[in-house]
């Protein structure tokens, strides 16, 4: 650090430069964005759909959480898949387990918090690794890029949206933002002092299915992450 200061000491007289202006009161700005979107959300949702489809994602719109079940069951049936892992019911906005079981699926919800037993953690990891479908919520849906933003935390493990080949994410109007810049306001908010921040250590931006073009520039999906991403917009609020 002393060396860095010594070197910086030699650079006086450079034209001044400023970093990006940050929201002074992120909560106020975040609320302003939400208030604006209370009017404009249909356009933002339409743009989200368009951008998601451009990157190879699939969009659905349903009225209530209960209507999510037949959509998920349909996705599973078309892919001859049955094993589903999901975030804990409290993080998903409701318990879809019994309804999914009635549709012939084998759903397993993740525990609501830490699991002290190493053997149990290993069992859960193997279960997630063997699952075909991963069902999660989303904290933001960015219209500009068709991106879903998921923060990790208790009851919302990272692997649910990562290991299974088919990822299905639910979101409602309160998650919708128009741009990366607006998403930045929420990131500032989540990290601001005294605000309830992201619960876990990781925030993932997911823009479509996993892809590579490393072999002769041929686009191939599902290298390491999911090969399909399905985003289901629920008209009724699914978050507290």
């Amino acid at each position: 650090m002393a060396r860095i200061r010594a070197e910086l000491g030699k650079t006086r007289g450079l034209p001044p430069a400023e970093p990006t202006r940050r929201p002074e009161r992120p909560r106020v700005e975040a609320e302003a964005i939400r208030a604006e979107l209370a009017e404009r959300w249909p356009e933002a949702l339409e743009r989200f759909r368009r951008e998601l489809e451009k990157v190879g994602g699939v969009f659905y719109r349903v009225a209530t959480l209960a209507e999510v079940v037949p959509v998920v069951a349909g996705i599973a049936r078309d892919r001859a898949a049955r094993r589903l892992v999901s975030w804990h019911a409290a993080e998903l906005g409701g318990d879809l387990g019994p309804a999914l079981t009635a549709q012939g699926l084998e759903p397993v919800a993740m525990p609501p918090g830490e699991v002290p037993s190493a053997a149990e953690r290993q069992r859960l990891r193997e279960l997630v690794a063997a699952a075909e479908l991963g069902l999660t919520g989303a904290d933001l849906a960015i219209a500009e890029t068709g991106t879903l933003v998921l923060s990790s935390g208790a009851g919302r493990p990272r692997s649910t949206s990562l290991l299974p080949p088919y990822h299905i994410a639910l979101f409602d109007r309160t998650a919708l933002v128009e741009s990366l810049a607006q998403a930045g306001v929420f990131l500032e908010l989540w990290h601001a002092d005294g605000e309830p921040g992201p619960r876990g250590a990781v925030i993932s931006f997911i823009t479509g299915p996993s892809r590579t073009a490393d072999i002769e520039l041929t686009l191939t999906r599902g290298v390491h992450g999911p090969k399909e991403v399905h985003a289901i917009f629920v008209e009724a609020s699914i978050r507290g």
């Binding site: 650090m1 060396r3 860095i4 200061r5 070197e7 910086l8 000491g9 030699k10 650079t11 450079l14 034209p15 430069a17 970093p19 990006t20 202006r21 990157v55 993740m110 918090g113 830490e114 953690r121 859960l124 690794a129 991106t147 990790s152 935390g153 208790a154 493990p157 990272r158 692997s159 990562l162 990366l180 810049a181 930045g184 990131l187 500032e188 990290h191 992201p198 619960r199 876990g200 250590a201 990781v202 925030i203 993932s204 931006f205 997911i206 823009t207 479509g208 996993s210 892809r211 590579t212 073009a213 490393d214 072999i215 002769e216 041929t218 191939t220 599902g222 290298v223 390491h224 999911p226």
Partner: protein
């Protein structure tokens, strides 16, 4: 050719690359495609130009107060239970990482693509210490199996055909697989999935680190970055000190232009923000998180001639547009970082003496400045480097004589006009179809290209004529 042999002169390395017909085709296809995708992305994003200026200013603002931002970053990483290590040299960085690996009892390390770990030659050191390094980016995995090095910053295996890759997988993985990108990718997915689940150590680079929150940011398309930061018990991120940005608001500016410059995507598939190890209440995530801050020649440039190269985001856009890179590819440069920015970074890491030849591997056309998301003035620094490394005259005597004479001539309008008329006559024996195909004493200049013949009327003659006509 797997790796450039630095004992061979650069000219010969470049020459070999230019004789490699497959490499030539692969380079043309790849770079042309990337150029098109980048252009489309920015054409559809009018605010992009303003954001490039903004991004440049953020880099400048950060470098001017790098001490403050690094202190803030370190404090915040530690606040969330991470550990920060400062490495002045590549050797120090390797030692720190090996010690972390030893303490964790690691036998295998999964890595997501990272130029910083290439730069410090980490894989060899891990192997010697008995920790098997596994590259998990598909392109990196392929070249690791082939014992080669990346030929492009973001497309490391563009020099290989699917047939070569199928043969390689057959030999190394003992699996028969058709030469089809989809099948090859699925085979690699299965192989690497096992490694992700077994590895004790996850090693990544970092595209950015946010000082205000202590967050390390990884950008990938395949999802390996998420795997490496979620599954192993220990996560080590290796990052050049210049990659710190002040806030989340700054981060969003860079995210908006990085993928567009690299692959033409609006955003890469995965942007992963990691704030320390597994948090209380989380089912999974590493128990330990280490951030290795790498100097390795960077700090010396804070007030040095290569300062602006510290803005680099490692997007690869300058490689694709560079007429030299497009001809010779990444390996011929012979160092970790290829292309125009690579010459500057090589000089930064290994000293200017290491780029005596490479400093001239540029036409100074400036295409790199136009493509660079933060508008790094690469040609200006290359000229400075040339001045620094050129005590020895490397041009042949005839070129020096001619260039000196031309320089003298260009400042004397009357003589210049006369010289044009003389050249028109003298060139006659060498001209065919309006071009000079070969010129004695200048074989190197005309061997692979033609020189346009001196026009029968000069610009000034035509101008005067036009002026007379319009006046009439």
């Amino acid at each position: 050719m797997s790796q450039a042999d630095l004992s061979i002169p650069f000219r010969r390395r470049a020459g070999r690359a230019m004789e490699d017909a497959f490499l030539q085709e692969a380079l043309t296809i790849a770079t042309t495609k990337f150029i098109g995708l980048r252009r489309e992305a920015f054409d559809a994003f009018p605010e992009g130009e303003g954001l490039r200026d903004r991004a440049r200013e953020i880099k400048e603002a950060t470098l001017q107060h790098l001490d403050r931002y690094l202190e803030q970053l370190i404090g915040n990483v530690e606040r969330f239970g991470g550990r920060v290590h400062f490495a002045t040299t590549a050797a120090e960085a390797r030692a720190v990482i090996l010690e972390i690996g030893r303490r964790a009892g690691a036998r295998m390390a999964v890595k997501s693509k990272s130029m910083a770990t290439e730069e410090i030659h980490l894989n060899e050191a891990l192997e010697e210490a008995g920790i098997v390094p596994v590259e998990t980016d598909l392109g990196e995995y392929i070249i690791q199996l082939a014992h080669e090095r990346p030929s492009h910053i973001i497309a490391p295996a563009i020099h290989k055909t699917k047939g070569q890759i199928a043969d390689l997988f057959g030999k190394e993985l003992k699996r028969t697989v058709p030469a089809d990108p989809e099948a090859l990718t699925q085979l690699a997915r299965g192989e690497l999935r096992e490694k992700f689940l077994q590895a004790d150590l996850g090693i990544t680079g970092a595209n950015f680190a946010v000082a205000d929150t202590g967050t390390v940011v990884l950008v990938t398309n395949e999802g390996n970055g998420r795997m490496v930061t979620s599954l192993p018990r220990v996560h080590v991120a290796v990052m050049g000190v210049e990659k710190v940005v002040p806030s989340m608001s700054d981060l969003m500016v860079f995210l908006a232009i990085l993928a567009k410059s690299a692959t033409g995507q609006k955003l890469s598939v995965y942007t992963t923000l990691v704030q320390g190890p597994r948090r209380a209440g989380e089912l999974e995530g590493p128990e330990e998180f280490h951030l290795v801050l790498l100097d390795n020649g960077r700090v010396d440039q804070l007030a040095g001639p290569l300062r602006e190269a510290l803005y680099c985001l490692r997007c690869g856009a300058c490689l694709n547009v560079c007429p030299v890179y497009r001809q010779i590819g990444g390996h011929a440069y012979g160092h970790t970082y290829p292309g125009p920015i690579g010459i500057l970074l090589t000089a930064m890491l290994n000293g200017p003496g290491s780029v005596k030849e490479l400093a001239h591997a540029s036409s100074l056309c400036g295409a790199c400045v136009d493509a660079c998301p933060v508008r790094i003035d690469i040609p200006r620094m290359l000229i400075e480097l040339r001045r620094e490394v050129d005590e020895k005259r490397i041009a042949p005597w005839i070129e020096r004589v001619v260039f000196t004479s031309v320089g003298w001539l260009l400042t004397r309008p009357l003589l210049y006009g006369l010289a044009g008329r003389v050249a028109r006559v003298l060139q006659r024996p060498f001209v065919s179809d309006g071009a000079i195909r070969s010129l004695p004493l200048f074989g190197d200049w005309t061997r692979t290209r033609d020189l346009p013949a001196v026009a029968s009327r000069t610009f000034r003659e035509r101008w005067n004529e036009l002026e007379r006509e319009t006046l009439r």
